[in-house]
């Protein structure tokens, strides 16, 4: 053991010293020209990127490589070079300048890798710099992809034009967990956030008279969303574009585990209803049509104009039945009048997935009203744990749905959200290792053409994603930094005061 210790410490010391003394800074010379495209991690070959994205640093997929070198060139004669032992790490300012000069144009990337036998230069590939910019950042929950118990977790924001990540709130600040963060079209001034556990609450940030371009966060209030007329706490939220309403589902959720199935967990509802919270009147609006005992209603989302409510619904299982693979959700729509807070009397079927023996989850309409992106899986509503889950795009003008091939992979694609210009989609995917969810982005043009998805950039992606034993949950765009005061929020959470919701039933 002693020998083992010495060897280990000595090897690490030598490694550190050699790293310091022999940093990989060589000229690529006598390189063998390869006809193949380079195998890089993440796969950025042929992707479309927003003009304001952070540098696409990457590693060689082959870990035996001794050094990696990349040169980016454009049609104006500009170039950007980076070299590293593990990854290429482009200078942030140079990268930004290059992208700004090539808005709407392609960049050419030539990758060389040094092996024991010398340098190899691969066939160049291109990336397209879309003129469509992406929002300031994304917000997500980081949590281990576990079962029922949670360790350290929290809600974080990431600046998409750099590598900066900041915690909004972590469960080290209170006892419990945090989930379902939601913003009104990416605006942190309107935010809904659930706290679960002994200090359970729904935190609402809402400013009735927001001042543009100020860094003052909206007032924060902790609510008790459980009422004696509803099933339980509010769960899946979606803001009305006016900021006056939030559509929530309320779900009685259970988990069971597979004994011999590649989908290890099944999360399902034994009951669920929909309800609309009127922020101004502090009132839950209940419509009997949306809280039927024989139907599981969930995932409510408002249309871009706020005059419709889309939601998923499935026929409820008989009590005591565990035929979970028979629960299939369709996509429905009902009219909503934001002026009066009333609903239409008819529910339209938008996607009848049941007839295809499929199930819809996570409907997300684009903010320009053109498309609705949703997840399709074999059954159920918690497609995160379904390896077969894929993203589909519904053209709201034609009613046609199609598979988003560029966005999908062989593994799970589940939760997703639109950027505020409706040109970018952030999606959760487990394609990397089949378990840990990573955020990917794809471009969707006005015709619904979907580009190849690319992974959230990191300085050293392989090291970053390999070392992080956490999933990125519920990624959502934010248009500015949230300026969320986690310390103040934790004080509110740890305080016993909770404001109750009023309830009004609409007939």
């Amino acid at each position: 053991m002693k020998k083992n210790l010495y060897t280990f410490l000595l090897s690490h010391l030598l490694l550190l010293t050699s790293c310091l003394l022999m940093a990989c800074t060589e000229t690529v010379s006598d390189a063998k020209q390869e006809n193949a495209l380079p195998q890089i991690y993440p796969d950025y070959l042929g992707v479309t990127i927003p003009v304001n994205i952070a540098p696409l640093c990457f590693n060689m997929a082959d870990e035996t490589v001794l050094c990696i070198d990349a040169v980016i060139t454009d049609h104006h004669g500009n170039s950007l070079h980076s070299q590293g032992e593990e990854s290429v790490d482009f200078d942030l300012d140079d990268w930004r300048a290059l992208l700004a000069q090539n808005r709407g144009d392609s960049l050419n990337i030539t990758v060389s890798a040094k092996y024991d036998d010398g340098w190899h230069t691969y066939r160049s590939f291109s990336i397209f710099v879309s003129p469509d910019s992406i929002d300031y950042g994304i917000c997500y929950r980081l949590i281990a992809p576990g079962y029922e118990v949670w360790s350290k977790m929290g809600i974080y924001e990431r600046d998409l034009s750099s590598f900066d990540e900041r915690a909004l709130i972590e469960n080290t600040q209170f006892e419990g967990c945090v989930n379902c963060h939601s913003f009104n079209r990416g605006n942190p001034a309107d935010m809904s956030l659930h706290i679960r556990g002994p200090h359970g609450a729904t935190l609402l940030c809402h400013d009735e008279h927001p001042t543009p371009n100020t860094h003052h966060p909206s007032p924060l209030t902790a609510y008790n969303t459980k009422t004696d007329q509803t099933l339980g706490f509010c769960v899946y939220p979606y803001w009305h574009p006016s900021g006056r309403y939030i559509a929530y589902s309320t779900n009685a959720t259970n988990q069971l585990f597979h004994s011999a199935h590649h989908n290890r967990i099944e999360v399902f509802d034994t009951a669920s209803d929909l309800q609309i919270y009127d922020v101004e009147k502090n009132e839950l609006l209940l419509l009997p049509l949306l809280k039927q005992d024989s139907i599981y209603e969930t995932y409510p989302v408002f249309s871009h104009d706020g005059r419709s409510l889309f939601f998923c619904a499935a026929r409820a299982l008989p009590e005591g039945s565990y035929e979970l693979d028979s629960i299939r959700y369709n996509l429905y729509r009902i009219d909503f009048d934001p002026a009066t807070g009333t609903f239409g009397s008819r529910i339209d079927t938008i996607i009848n997935a049941e007839t295809q023996h499929k199930s819809v989850s996570f409907p997300r309409p684009s903010y320009d009203g053109r498309f609705l992106c949703y997840t399709l899986s074999d059954y159920g509503q918690f497609s995160i744990w379904h390896h077969e889950a894929d993203l589909y795009l519904l053209d709201l003008a034609t009613g046609e749905s199609r598979l988003m091939e560029g966005a999908n992979s062989e593994d799970t694609e589940s939760f997703h959200n639109w950027s505020t210009n409706s040109r970018w989609l952030v999606l959760s995917s487990r394609r990397d290792d089949g378990l840990y969810t990573r955020p990917y982005f794809c471009h969707v043009d006005a015709k619904g053409q979907v580009s190849k998805a690319f992974m959230l950039p990191q300085r050293n992606p392989r090291r970053f994603y390999r070392d992080r034993f956490l999933s990125f949950n519920v990624p959502d765009f934010i248009i500015t930094p949230t300026h969320f005061d986690g310390y103040k929020a934790s004080r509110i959470i740890n305080d016993n005061y909770r404001k109750d919701f009023g309830v009004r039933t609409i007939n």
Binding site: H12, A144, V149, S151, S259, A260, D467
Partner: protein, 464 residues
């Protein structure tokens, strides 16, 4: 005189060593299994970037050696001895020599709690080092400046000791013993130092060297005896026994388990679970079920609880039975339940194994690559990594190949409670799984299900 003090210090160190080595070794194993010390810059930075991080890091670094109980005992003995020597250095008043052991004894008491973290001891030590360092500086402005610089640096190193963060696994527990040790090691010597400078009533005058030695030894003996009595009274030897069963299950010491249960029959849940697993491994469970304490099926395969300790031996049983998905879930949940949010090398290892068996090679690789950054699990990770994706090698592997063959044929849903149907499905998926048969029969016996037991016997005899 100096030799006598050295002998007393040595005696103290040996007492600590023997205590942890002989009476408390499994407390050390327990500590080690709830952390994953990585030789990785990101890991180190995440720890040291917060106040108290350095003490925490040093504590974690030392705790990884607790995998070997005697090494752990030696480390604790050294640290506590060092605390005593530094206290003596700060607290050098002859009459009160015996009291120089008080901080060390308080830390010893603190460490009797299996959830007390070694970072607490380092916090005290680093504080003592800082004070000694300041006292080495000549009096005057220089010393004042050094003290002013030392205070924020010390705050970064040992952090808010008074909040107990980093120093106890339960975030809500206030480690009063640690505070007492810290105060006795730091504040009292400073007070004494002050009085020593400003008063003469601490000085021992007019006594011969021999009489002074007697006084010193008497004070040491008095402190030592009193403190040892308190330590022994507060030692949780019952928990030590439970931890021993967990340890034996972890290292699959089935023969040793049988020897232990035949010496003293376990009467706690973990002990009974491990006892039944060892009996089943030896094919003796059904025949000797009534010879030992049982707790119904809760002693066979208990319901999975939401804590970090009790599920691990049960997970070992699930794993040995071939219920890999169940084992994986149980281990994962146990790791997530670690209260100070640390990860566990033991759990990482098992999760790498379950993912390997289930064919989730990329996830298994992730765990193995993390284990490659450890001191004591690196070799195992190096040996296991080549297996990933090599179906033939896994099929031929004595453990993984066997457990793959025992896998369920039929999919069903399970939750926290193990049912007879789960064991029936397991056994009938592969009737070579003798362990599943033992557990199934025991399950029938413990639940009084005679019909099913008889049918199973009939099936076995028909098969033969």
């Amino acid at each position: 005189m100096k030799h006598l003090r050295s002998i007393c210090t040595l005696l103290f160190g040996v007492a600590v060593l023997l205590f942890y080595g002989l009476a408390y070794p499994h407390h050390l194993h327990y500590q080690e299994q709830y952390q994953l010390f990585l030789f990785d810059s990101t890991y180190v930075w995440e720890i040291v970037r917060v106040p108290g991080g350095l003490a925490d890091l040093l504590g974690r670094f030392c705790t990884q050696f607790f995998l070997y109980a005697w090494v752990g005992a030696f480390i604790i003995a050294c640290l506590l001895t060092l605390v005593q020597l530094l206290t003596l250095r700060l607290f050098n008043v002859q009459w009160f020599y015996g009291l120089s052991f008080v901080p060390s004894f308080l830390l010893w008491l603190f460490l009797l709690d299996e959830n007390a973290l070694l970072g607490g001891v380092w916090a005290v030590l680093l504080t003592q080092f800082a004070i000694c360092g300041c006292l080495l500086v000549p009096k005057g402005w220089t010393r004042h400046i050094v003290i002013l610089i030392t205070i924020p640096v010390l705050y970064w190193m040992v952090g808010p000791s008074w909040t107990g963060s980093h120093y106890h696994r339960y975030p809500t527990v206030t480690p009063y013993l640690l505070y007492a040790a810290w105060l006795s090691a730091v504040i009292l010597p400073l007070l004494v130092h002050f009085f020593k400078v400003h008063g003469s009533w601490f000085k021992v005058q007019g006594l011969s060297g021999q009489r002074q030695q007697i006084i010193h030894f008497s004070l040491f003996t008095f402190t030592f005896v009193i403190m040892m009595m308190i330590v022994w009274k507060n030692a949780n030897l019952k928990a030590e026994k439970v931890m021993q069963y967990d340890f034996m299950a972890r290292y699959q010491q089935w023969n040793r388990i049988l020897e232990t249960i035949n010496t003293e029959k376990p009467n706690n849940q973990i002990g009974v679970t491990v006892q039944n697993l060892a009996l089943a491994i030896h094919g003796q469970l059904v025949n000797h079920l009534s010879d030992y304490n049982q707790n119904g099926i809760a002693g066979l395969l208990p319901d999975v609880e939401r804590d970090a300790t009790s599920p691990l031996p049960t997970a070992e049983a699930f794993y040995q039975l071939g219920m890999i998905y169940v084992a994986q879930r149980t281990v994962f949940e146990a790791q997530e339940a670690i209260l100070d949010f640390q990860k566990s090398a033991r759990c990482y290892k098992r999760l790498a194994q379950t993912n390997l068996i289930l064919g989730n090679y990329e996830v298994a690789r992730k765990y193995l690559l993390a284990l490659q950054k450890t001191l004591f699990y690196r070799d195992w990770a190096d040996e296991t990594l080549p297996l990933l994706g090599h179906e033939d090698a896994i099929a031929k592997h004595p453990e993984y190949g066997r457990l793959r063959r025992y896998a369920y044929n039929d999919n069903f849903y399970f939750s926290d409670h193990v049912t007879s149907e789960m064991l029936e499905s397991l056994y009938f998926s592969n009737t070579d799984n003798r362990l599943a048969l033992e557990y199934l029969m025991a399950y029938y016996v413990l639940t009084g299900n005679r019909d099913s037991y008889a049918k199973l016997l009939h099936h076995i005899s028909a098969k033969q």
